[in-house]
């Protein structure tokens, strides 16, 4: 059903990605697809590397560890954005086109008040990407919370 599954990763917050990473790996094994991890960095030194090249090394290491844990096919690309906080969505959409992804699996936070003003990156991607998008909430939902806000 899918050939290339793109998974945007925020290397600074990998614990909050666990469910989306696991899901992407499952889907890849079922479909014989490749998971493509995409990370975005600024060209200024940051927590995850002094240079974009260092960041890319980290992303490779992350990819290797995922393959080891889940045993699926995987690849990764690091992208540089001048203003990552703003350009994230547009860079991810371009990445999806360039790697020819047919599914994007993406972690996202639960709906909140601010989403009315600022749609989350996941929402923005789902609205603009022509392929399929699977938004994964990190926390399992509690029965009492099954009311849309």
């Amino acid at each position: 059903m899918f050939n290339k599954i793109m998974v945007p990763v925020d290397l600074a917050h990998t614990p909050s990605l666990s469910r989306s990473l696991e899901l992407a790996a499952q889907l890849a094994r079922q479909n014989g697809a490749t998971v493509w991890y995409v990370g975005i960095t600024a060209d200024t030194p940051g927590k995850l590397g002094h240079t974009p090249a260092e960041y890319a090394e980290r992303l490779d290491a992350f990819t290797a560890s995922q393959v080891e844990t889940h045993g699926h096919d995987a690849a990764s690309t690091a992208y540089v954005a001048n203003d990552p906080a703003i350009d994230l969505t547009s860079v991810l959409l371009r990445a999806a086109t360039e790697i020819e992804a047919d599914l994007i699996v993406m972690a996202t936070h639960g709906p909140g008040v601010t989403d009315r003003l600022w749609p989350s990156h996941g929402e923005a991607i789902a609205r603009r990407f022509p392929g399929s998008v699977f938004l994964v909430r990190q926390d399992p939902i509690h029965p009492d919370e099954r009311i849309a806000t």
């Binding site: 060209d43 974009p52 090249a53 703003i86 350009d87």
Partner: protein
């Protein structure tokens, strides 16, 4: 951005090629390690705690003080202004001379070959986009505000000649010895003095800060904050309180520098709107202006560096160019063009005397104009410098210095020659003195009155002030946000929104306070003084940093 056809922006189509040789500084400090990450209600934040909290609270306390005790604050501010501009005039002038010489030295030295971002780095922006951004951030509203006003003032005061008060101190505002009764000499001296304030010196100040930040961030791998430049001198201590103090100073200087410019912008836009549409001059209009313009700046910061700030800077440059060409063609073109070279020559001729820091007799000019300007440029330098650094990755030191120092200086000479030249010609040839007699913010519009299509050009003038205003406010918010986030450029977006609104609020409160623009200016000058010391030390750090880069 995803469909941007501009190949020069290809740096973000993927990881750049290996960055080549650079000499990373090994430190155990991890960027963001002192940051406080969390959320306030639904809004996430990621801030460097001492820097964010101290600068934020101190600015709020300052604003409350000016509002609660306006008279005392007003007196204190004017005392501070006098103390700093009069007591430290030699220091500002001397330091600025050192900066110019240091920049010129870097252009010709072999260190000019070193590339920011490593030997293989490629530039993120085209020359045009890069140039538009550094120019819009660097000069901004001041060019529009003083373009006619300053050459005119120096011309008039030079023509008036020297007057000496009872105590033997000169009471006139003429630069150097003035040029009493000699119109041609007064024009040359006036233009030379103006160009002096907008030429090499301000751009050298910006270039030093920008180079230091770019070098220590892109080549040495330290966070993009002002403290990083002090690593060669302070070592690991830059991550503690000495570093916090430097960053807090930078935030102060930036915020008050911006607020002053916003104040100038609001008064001039108001004056223009009054002239054109009869909109009343006063607090209400100015507050509305600042609010509207801050709102536009908000949209721009939310669109980011490429989608907002860069686009506005380019619009800005286009508008400024249109106005410049129009004034040039509508005014006495030939006289102004020949004037350009004449004024440039006059600048070079008078430069040694004008930049001399000691034993000057023209105290009013030196303290009231030069000293204030140097302090103003210095207080702007963390902001403009960081902004220039952020967009200059991939340039060599020589290319950087030529483009940041020489080209903008020449553009300023051209701008002043055209606006000041046409206005002075109006006085000298046509006997039209409305611009000469008008208040500072109005001089530009009075000059435009004499040229054709007044309605349109005045409107362009007002729009230009407003767009300059917006580009200063949005790039300023990005810079303060980066400093208060410990050098992270990807902090949550609400933070930059907070700073954009905060800047507007400070400008409004201070404009409404008893001292008005005066209290803003005193704050600029007062933060400029300690920052001059910071800049001098920076020169040493740059030298050390570049030297180690050559060995790598």
């Amino acid at each position: 951005m995803s469909d941007n056809p501009d190949p020069s922006l290809s740096a973000d189509t993927g990881i750049p090629e290996p960055e080549g040789v650079s000499d990373l500084i090994e430190t155990d400090y991890e960027i963001g390690q002192d940051n406080l990450e969390g959320s306030l209600g639904p809004i996430g934040f990621d801030i460097h705690n001492p820097v964010f909290a101290v600068s934020g609270l101190a600015i709020v306390a300052f604003v409350f003080y000016t509002l609660a005790l306006p008279d005392q604050a007003g007196a204190l501010f004017s005392a501070m202004f006098d103390f700093v501009t009069k007591g430290f005039d030699w220091f500002f002038l001397g330091a600025a001379n050192i900066f110019v010489l240091f920049c010129l030295l870097l252009i010709v030295s072999p260190m000019g070959k070193i590339r920011l971002g490593g030997s293989e780095a490629t530039p993120d922006y085209t020359y045009l986009g890069w140039f538009a951004m550094l120019f819009a951030a660097g000069m901004g509203i001041g060019l529009v505000f003083y373009g006619v006003a300053e050459p005119m003032s120096h011309f008039s005061s030079s023509l008036g000649g020297v007057t000496v008060g009872e105590n033997g101190v000169r009471t006139d505002w003429a630069p150097l010895g003035g040029a009493e009764g000699d119109e041609a000499a007064a024009i040359r001296l006036g233009m030379a003095a103006t160009i002096f304030h907008w030429g090499l010196h301000p751009w050298a100040i910006y270039a030093i800060v920008a180079l230091a930040l770019a070098l220590f961030s892109y080549n040495k791998g330290l966070p993009l904050t002002v403290r990083s430049a002090f690593y060669p001198i302070l070592g690991e201590r830059v991550w503690g309180w000495p570093g916090h103090v430097i960053d807090i100073l930078a935030v102060f200087a930036t915020l008050f520098g911006l607020a002053t410019s916003l104040g100038f912008g609001a008064t001039q836009a108001n004056a223009g709107l009054n002239e054109l549409f009869g909109i009343p001059i006063g607090d209400t209009t100015e507050v509305i202006l600042i609010t509207v313009i801050t709102a536009i700046a908000l949209v721009s910061v939310l669109r980011g560096l490429d989608g907002g700030v860069k686009v506005l800077s380019e619009i800005n440059m286009a508008l400024a160019l249109v106005l410049l060409v129009f004034v040039l063609l509508a005014g006495s073109t030939v006289a102004v063009l020949t004037g350009f070279f004449d004024y440039l020559w006059a600048y070079i001729e008078y430069l040694p005397a004008l930049s001399n820091p000691i034993g000057r007799e023209d105290v009013n000019f030196m303290q009231g104009w030069t000293s204030f300007y140097w302090a103003w440029w210095i207080s702007w330098s963390p902001f403009v410098g960081m902004f220039i650094a952020r967009v200059s990755r991939g340039r060599t030191v020589r290319e950087f210095m030529i483009c940041v120092l020489l080209i903008p200086s020449l553009v300023c000479v051209l701008w002043m020659s055209v606006f000041g030249g046409v206005a002075i010609q109006q006085v000298v040839q046509d006997g039209y003195t409305a611009a000469q007699d008008a208040d500072l913010p109005l001089k530009l519009f009075k000059m435009l009155d004499e040229l054709p299509l007044t309605g349109i050009t005045s409107l362009v003038g007002i729009v230009l002030v407003i767009v300059f205003f917006v580009t200063s406010s949005d790039s300023g918010s990005l810079v303060i946000d980066t400093i208060t986030a410990g050098g992270k450029v990807d902090a949550p977006v609400p933070q930059r929104v907070f700073w954009a609104i905060f800047e507007g609020a400070v400008a409004i409160v201070l404009l409404l306070s008893a001292g008005g623009l005066g209290s803003l200016q005193s704050m600029v000058i007062s933060t400029g003084l300690p920052f001059t010391v910071v800049l001098l030390v920076m020169c040493v750090a740059i030298w050390k940093g570049l030297a180690s880069e050559r060995k790598a």
